[in-house]
Symmetry: C2
């Protein structure tokens, strides 16, 4: 067997999430609790009845790719040739990492705390992973100087998830500018930035930075999972400079051939409907305000929620996050993800998702605050 | 960039298929021309309206996996834990190859002529590929002795596509028995057999062999693409011994996370409907009889059509298959795939698919026969 597969551990997030029992407040999985809008499905079903359900091109339906390029309008990345449609942004991220890194010599740079999939994918490919931790004292804000200082001779790809899972921080325009200048000033072979924008529609600040807007070696990944409550549609994409996009399509073609034609038809309806990608933005905005209130009242130390649908809260000094997550699930009726799942730098913290009904989120935060106070007073 | 991606060429099959113009007889792509049965969709749509469209478990919906295990009833492989649902059998084959081969030391053994994806996937993983050609004089029949003789110290996985794309041959029960005995007699670490059964419902002989029926180290891949005209559903699976299945799920989890929930719901309806997997079997049987007639009348030399929906025909001695395929597409209004796409052993042959309306298939075969006669007389 492939030793890389054997070495990789399963998902700690899913392990804790699986402990959910009835009555549990679920602040675990990063999955919208909203329902998808079925009106986007009617045309897709009619088309399937009429034309059947054949393969699309490997890269995806040309009209859909054109619509995606035209929707985001990233300079130089606006045409169908820049886009590859894939099985969720999970496949998109996997294929980009696989395509861009030469396992023999290239290194992936991760900004921690980080969604664990990036490192696991790189390790599955046999590529080296180096990581740089953002400063907890600064609420894990993206720090361009710190990131640039961590770029080494072997760094070929930097993955940045902003709005961030797990920290809920958003990289600023200024930080993107500083990083872009710094990376370009190095000269030599380009260092690629994979900007995972899956939480784009959950941005709650005005100065959000987008690498694709100014840095020429950017690949963007995204999907309809979070924006439209369609995790189960498995419809994502990469947007990349044409030469890179062609290589991405080649890898993708051998991994899954093409994304679901039906999912692509639903996606086409969404991109054809003005405002559809933002259909849940109001709900998330309201939810975030309520979560901010609940966090402020809880007495917990937390990271400012600038984007995504998470919040990180600090456990009492010396508490191990895995132990706390198990105790919370087993004895306090709350599912929350241990910070260690996202790297050493988030040890001692919990990641909460806040997509459950707001009363559950409030109650969950209260239970965690109670647990922390009790726990703290015992020490 | 990853040099393995750069070295891999695109799909010759898709390159030729793309030359299709109106009026062309399409004997190119391996895609059913039938329409899917929409009654399988009604429940899936209702369920999506009711429950939304969330992720399933990485391995796929438990009830669907149970239904798949129970449908095929391969000894020891009948439970949900044996099954991993994936994005078409393309991802299933990719993930199995990736999971089972250690690129540092293991070799994949291919039986040529072979569907080109297997070798490209292995090369993408950096794993060595060795191949053994079946005998054209014997119509490329699966020859267990020849295959066993090609098994070396490093062979860890043998891929067998039966019913075969491209040869349309089916491995016999006796051949599977001989191979199973031979492989078990070697001792040492198990040599796995990946039996790609994607054309199972297009089996036209009575003595078809199934590795999973007797060989303990078998992994089966299959999908709904060919049986139910659902290539665009991207719904396939692997069936494997539990320990192997667990490793397969781990790899799959990082590649695509999970298959489309909607596609899984449609699949559930199909597995819940007795006979649904065979819904098109009658059509293929009739079509195959007509194709056999047309081939017999054509004067072309062809390989017996025992399964799948292809037929291989011989070009005049000395004709290069790529040149012939281009000439046929450009000047004779027929799309057919050059044999070289499936390995050196099929050079000088064409692979025809026969899923277009039967009159088109007949006309296509006639045009190829005319081309071969003319071409031959010119030499």
């Amino acid at each position: 067997m492939n030793p890389r597969v054997q070495e990789i551990t399963g998902s700690l997030i899913r392990e804790i999430a699986a402990k959910k029992t009835p009555g549990c407040m679920d602040l675990g999985l990063g999955e919208p609790s909203l329902k998808p809008t079925m009106s986007f499905w009617a045309n897709a079903i009619r088309e399937t009845e009429k034309d059947g359900l054949r393969y699309t091109l490997n890269a995806g339906d040309a009209a859909l790719r054109e619509a995606i390029g035209a929707h985001y309008l990233y300079p130089g990345l606006t045409s169908a040739e820049n886009v590859c449609v894939m099985t969720g942004s999970q496949e998109a991220v996997y294929v980009v990492i696989k395509t861009l890194l030469d396992p023999a010599k290239d290194e992936l740079l991760l900004i921690e705390p980080a969604f664990p999939a990036y490192a696991k994918m790189a390790k599955l490919e046999g590529a080296a992973v180096h990581s740089v931790s953002m400063d907890p004292a600064d609420g894990f804000a993206f720090d361009p100087e710190r990131i640039l200082a961590a770029v080494g001779e072997k760094t070929r790809l930097i993955v940045i998830c902003s709005p961030c899972n797990p920290t809920a921080r958003v990289i600023t325009r200024e930080a993107v500018h500083t990083m872009s200048e710094g990376l370009l000033a190095r000269g030599g072979d380009p260092i690629y930035v994979l900007h995972d924008e899956i939480y784009l529609e959950q941005t709650f600040v005005d100065d959000a930075g987008h690498f694709a807007a100014i840095y020429p070696h950017t690949i963007v990944t995204n999907s309809l999972s979070k924006s439209n409550a369609l995790t189960g549609l498995r419809l994502g994409w990469s947007i990349a400079p044409k030469e890179i996009a062609a290589a991405i399509v080649k890898t993708h073609a051998w991994v899954t051939s093409c994304a679901s034609t039906f999912s692509q038809r639903v996606a086409m309806e969404i991109f054809n409907t003005p405002g559809a990608l933002h259909e849940h933005a109001g709900w998330y905005r309201d939810q975030r305000l309520a979560v901010n209130d609940a966090l402020a009242q809880s007495g917990l130390r937390y990271v400012p929620v600038e984007g995504s649908f998470y919040a990180c809260v600090k456990l009492p000094e010396g508490t191990e996050s895995i132990e706390a997550a198990h105790e919370l699930a087993d004895h306090h009726g709350v599912i929350a993800i241990p910070g260690i799942a996202f790297g050493e730098s988030l040890e001692g913290w919990l990641r909460l998702s806040w997509v459950s009904p707001i009363d559950d989120v409030r109650e969950g935060i209260k239970r965690i605050a109670n647990y922390c106070q009790k726990d703290h007073s015992l020490r």
